[in-house]
Every structure is written in C-alpha cells, then in structure tokens.
Amino acid sequence: MLEIKNLHASIGDKKILDGLTLTVKKGEVAAIMGPNGSGKSTLSYVISGREDYTVTQGEVLLDGVNLLDMDASERANAGVFLAFQYPLEIPGVATMTFLKAAMNAHARANGQSELQTPDFMRRVREAAQKLGVSQDMLKRPLNVGFSGGEKKRMEILQMALLQPKLGILDETDSGLDIDALRVVSEGVNALRAPDRAFLVITHYQRLLDYIKPDTVHVMARGRIVKTGGPELALELEKSGYKDYVGEAA
C-alpha cells in the first residue's frame, strides 16, 4: 500500500530525512519509534504534502500512485490522513462546519455527491459518541480551547469520518489520560481493515498494548535503522535507543 524508497528531504539547508525506505502493506499497522528529533514528524509531513519540505530524492507511492506529484489536499483526498502531533486551532469555525467541509471535499474529489445534512449529522453523532466527543465540543470552534486530550480525540474523530486508506498517527497517545488512551485506541482499532494501513508514531509501548502493531520500525537520523515485530518495541522499552543512534551516523 505505502512504499517509500530512498527518501531524502530537507528544510532550508537542514537535511532531515536521509535515505529512508519503508513499506507498509494493506491492512498492516506499522509502529515507528525513535529518539526525539530523529525525523518522525517530518516523515509524516512529507508523506502528507506539507510545503516547507523539499524532497531531493526518492519516491512515495500510495497504491502505486506517486504522492509527491500532488498537493496536500489532493493527497488527503487520495486517502492520506495525518492525526497531528499538535492539532491546529481554527477560530470562529464551528467544528461541525469544518467536518462537513472536509467530508464534502472528499466526496467531491471522489466523484460522489455531497452528504445530505441529516445523514452527515447522524454519522458525526455516532462517531462522536464512540470517541466520547461531546455535542458541545462539536459546536465550538475547531480545537479552540480544547484540552490536549480533547484535541487528540478530535483528530481520531476526523479520521473515522474521512475513512482514509492510510492513517498516520503522530504521538496520538501524548496528552491522553488512561481512560482516553483506551477510548482512542478502541476508535483506531475499530478502523482497522484489510484495505487500510496505519503508521503509528509513538514513544511508548503503552499505546502499542492497545493498538497492536504488525511491524515495528526504529527511526534514527532520518532513516529506518531496524525493523522487527512487536517484540522490538518491548526491547526498546528496556534498552533505549543507544544501540541505534550511533549506527546511523
């Protein structure tokens, strides 16, 4: 589903991704772990088309289609969803309004007719209930004054509504309390499907106890330095990154 080949990317003259190669299969949940500053968020931005980054080399294919030729909204409509490490606030725009704009954009891009309002309301309500997002939050301006945990739930709510092919979760567990972690994880697990893949960026095994990964990748210095099964995460929990940090240099 997702194929990244020898990806090099920089911002200004700072090189951040340095020959990263990674394959994620349909239906797979791939965890990415790695020290602070190793380039995990950068990877998520480069996949989803943030403009500040310059890709100097390499390929990113989703179902064989080159994502690097598309702008951010085209990639989103092609099925890439990023749950942000730091979700943005959009003052004055009611969450409901935002959700509808996003869903309609997806519908249009995929040649479907826009959702009728009652249909839309029903889908949002159902998804919101599962994730413990209150009606009050849906009326408020998007993310404005939301707590850290509330923002993260809102990201997963959006993912549930937009039904992407590839979901990238960037430290979705940070800022969540124990109950919220469980609710959010259940939300993600409910979205696991044979034709959907996830890239789960996290620092902690705790999240992976809930969202069980198929593969675990260690990222250091802008590339994947080790790939293994779920046991790799447990190993890292014990020994840290010291073995990998040097290796990539």
């Binding site: 909204s73 725009v93 935002f98 704009a101 954009a105 959006q158």
Partner: protein, 489 residues
C-alpha cells in the same frame, strides 16, 4: 454550514478577473451633458420637478462645494478626479419616473434578476423564504421600482424613492434632509447635496415595527456617470426598522465615481439597523478601473434610548472611503458598528466609524475585521469621543486585521478623545496572518488552498456575520470568498 460549502464552490467556479456582476445592460438612457455648473444642478432639479426650496438647497450646496477641496487625509492614492468629465444625471429612457413593476422596462427587470434581486413580489411569495424583503432598486440615477408598497402602507410605513417623497411627503423631507449630514459637511457630501440623483426614503411612524426588511439595490450602468444617491431614514418614537443595501456596477476600464449620503434619524426609543453589502466593481487584476466609493453615512440617535447599528461587508470598489458614524445625542442611546472590510488586488480601503457621545450614559460598540490580500491596503480609522456632558459614556472597540500574503498592508488609526472623566473607552486591536500551519491542516483534510483560506477567513469574521440578517449573511459569505479569489497559491 451549507453556506460555507456554497462559498467554497463559488470560489472554485469563479475566475480572478471575472467580476460576476460586470455586465452592461443595453438600455437607451437620457444623459445630462458632461460637466457640472449651476445649469446642470437646475437641470437635475427640473427633471425631478422639484419644489423651489430644494432647487435652492442644491444650488447653495453647489456654491459651497466650489469653495471646498478634496480631503487628503485618508490613506488612499488616486489621480485627481476631473469633475467636469462626468455625467451627473443618467436615467433609463423608458422610465421617466417610478412606476408599478409591470411598467418597468423588462430589460431592467432582467438586469436585476441577473443580480439575484427578487424584484417581483410573486417570486418572493412563491419562494421558500419565510421572511419578506421590500426592495427599492436604483438604476444609475433613477429609482425604478419599489416592491411591497401597499403592504407597507397598511402599517403606515413610507418606503419610496426620495424623488417621490419630495412630492408626497415634503414636510418630512424638508424637516430631516441635511439634518444629520449638513450641506457643508465634507467635499463629497456637499457635492452629493448639489447633484444627488435618487435614493430611498423611509419613514416609520411612532410605535411601528416595520413588518419586513427594507432593501435598496444600487447599480451603476452608464459610462462616465457619477452616482450620487441620497438615502433618508427616519424612525419615529418607539419604532424599529431593518434596512439592507446592496450595490453592483459593470466592469469598465475607467474609474467611476460613487458619492452617496445616507442619513438616519432615530427618535426616542427607536431602533434602526442598517446593513450594507458593498460589492462595487473593484477593478481588474492589474488595478485598472473600479469604483471610487466616497460615501458619507451618519446616524443621529436623536431621542433618548434610541439605537442605531451599522453593519457593513465591504468587498468591492477600487477605493473605499467610508465611515458610517453615530451621533449619540439622546441620553442612554446606543451606537453600533460591525464591519468586515476585505481588500485584494490593488484595492484601497480606508474605512471605520465615528462614535460621538453627547448624551448621558450613552454606549457604543465597534467590531471591525479587516482582511487584506494581494497588493491591497486596508486602513481602519475610528474616532470615539465623549462630550463634556456625556457622563457615563462607554465604548468598546475591537479591531482585528488579517493579512494574506506578503504584499498587502493593514493599518489601524484610532482617535480617542474624552472630555468627561467618567467616560470609559476600551480598545483592543490585533493583527494576524493566516498561518501556513492552519492552511496545511485544512488542506490535509482535503480542502483546497482557496477553500481553506475562505474557511479561515469566514471564521475570522464570524462575530460580524452574525449581525447580518440571515439571507444577507449567506450572500456576504459568498462575496467574501469571491473577493479573496486569487489571493493564495
């Protein structure tokens, strides 16, 4: 929500240069010869069969105007206007005066249909809209049709072209015309007083709540024609009226002058809500053509506990010079100003308000949202003052500017003046940019750069949009995204 969707659809559908209303209507019209002198003033007055007092009033204004100079304090730049190179009167030939709708030139009606104005009462009645809007349409210099007249008359409301009111209600016109914006007020207002063409007249009798929204649409059609409307609205004791104003003009290479005067009078306990969606042709992408909009709008809260509220959405015109103001004369009277001013391309906006507190315990509120994109310049200029006797006066001002891109400018020029120690004036101002992060976030959810910008801007102006009557708010939202077209990417 639907409106936002429509908004983004509209953005997609419309080209930068394609001003939607830029068509010319093919109607023969009667033009006064170019230039301005006492004969032209007399000609205009004679065309309208005006009484002698009004002819004299115009001539006084004209003589005064000759001694005045164009104001230069606003942050706008343009080549000097040749006032002798303009027509000061243009009337569609087939409509010498206001008539019933059936007699109006069908070509004109089609024009207004293109503009989406529901001139025909039947359409409105048959439509899904639950609220009714009475419309007075002004085409170049002449008012061509006023709808719902009969129904309004039942409530005692007078809503007609001012040229008609001069004849049907001379005592009201003579009493109030020029009583808020004096003949000598400023260069453009004085010019307007000399040559004003037509406009709307509204009188709401004591204790009457006007049964529907009143609305005027202005359209400049003729080439090289100045448009000088004059609107006069009087809300008698304890009455209420909500009035909407919309405007359009065809695309032309040269600049067209528009210098209107609007006077509002609210007597004891009366309330006037005046909303404008200003969408005059802004000029093309290189800054050629467009309307010069030099307008004087002022409301007088003459009676105690009266209230006047201005809401404006300004997206058009090459140059906007406009400060809808309130004189808070009556004790406990209240003035409000809610404004969205958007500039793009080479547009220049210098707009704001004045709140003049004269009476005791008077209050005012100013919410201004300026949005600049392209190479435009957008200035908020606001004056709040308290007279010596205005004890307990209060004002709250919030003035936010949003910049889109790197070549535009936003400026805030507040003047605050208090001669009474008990007056309390609060002023808040912010300037922000649409952040790349916000844009990326929205685009990551599938919105195009333009949809994302429109959404963020609509959020930014929400406080003000909420002040508009529903149908107008939807229209305004569309206009906002249309006028931001081409500002990103």
């Amino acid at each position: 929500m639907a409106a936002v969707q429509e908004t983004v659809d509209r953005v997609k559908a419309i080209d930068v240069d394609a001003y939607k209303y830029g068509f010319v209507t093919d109607i023969e019209s009667e033009l006064a010869p170019k230039g301005l002198n006492e004969d032209i003033v007399r000609f205009i007055s004679a065309r309208k069969n005006e009484p002698e007092w009004l002819t004299q009033w115009r001539l006084d204004a004209y003589r005064r105007w000759l001694t005045m100079r164009e104001p230069t304090w606003a942050r706008v730049h343009y080549k000097p206007i040749d006032f002798q190179d303009l027509h000061y009167y243009a009337a569609p030939k087939s409509t010498p005066g206001p008539k019933s709708l059936d007699e109006v030139d069908p070509e004109l009606l089609r024009t207004y249909e293109k503009l989406g104005i529901p001139l025909r009462e039947q359409e409105l009645l048959a439509g899904v809209q639950t609220s009714k809007v009475a419309v007075d349409a002004v085409f170049d210099s002449v008012s061509v049709a006023t709808t719902f007249k009969a129904e309004l008359a039942k409530a005692g409301v007078i809503f007609c072209p001012i040229s008609e009111a001069v004849h049907s209600h001379p005592e009201l016109v003579q009493k109030y015309l020029g009583s808020v914006v004096p003949v000598t007020d400023n260069f453009y207002a004085t010019l307007n007083s000399a040559v004003f063409s037509d406009g709307s007249f509204v009188y709401i009798p004591p204790g009457v709540r006007c049964p529907m929204e009143l609305s005027t649409y202005f359209r400049i059609n003729e080439k090289k024609t100045g448009q000088f409307e004059r609107t006069l609205i009087i809300a008698d004791k304890g009455s209420y009226v909500s009035y909407l104003e919309g405007c359009t003009a065809p695309q032309r290479d040269e600049n067209q002058l528009h210098a209107a005067v609007v006077e509002l009078i609210a007597l004891d306990d009366a309330e006037i809500k005046y909303s404008t969606v200003q969408n005059w042709y802004p000029g093309d992408a290189e800054g050629r053509g467009g309307i010069y909009n030099f307008v004087t709008k002022r409301g007088d809260c003459r009676g105690p506990r009266s209230k006047i509220s201005w809401t404006q959405v300004e997206t058009g015109s090459a140059i906007t010079w406009k400060y809808p103001s309130c004189i808070l004369r009556g004790d406990e009277s209240r003035g409000e100003f809610y404004s969205i001013a958007i500039s793009n391309g080479y547009q220049q906006v210098d707009s704001g308000t004045k709140m003049i507190h004269l009476g005791k315990n008077t209050t005012s509120r100013i919410i201004s949202k300026g949005i600049s994109a392209g190479r435009s310049n957008n200035t908020y200029r606001g004056q709040v003052s308290a007279h010596r006797k205005a004890s307990g006066a209060r004002n709250f001002t919030n003035c936010d500017s949003l910049l889109i891109g790197h070549d535009c400018g936003a400026h805030t020029v507040p003047y605050i003046e208090s001669k009474n120690a008990t007056a309390v004036f609060e002023h808040e101002a912010t300037t922000s940019k649409i952040s790349e992060d916000q844009l990326f976030y929205c685009m990551q959810r599938g919105l195009s750069a333009e949809e994302a910008t429109a959404l963020i801007v609509n959020g930014f102006v929400r406080d003000v949009l909420q002040q508009l009557p529903m149908e107008f708010a939807v229209e305004a939202q569309k206009l906002i995204s249309i006028s931001l077209e081409g500002s990103v990417g």
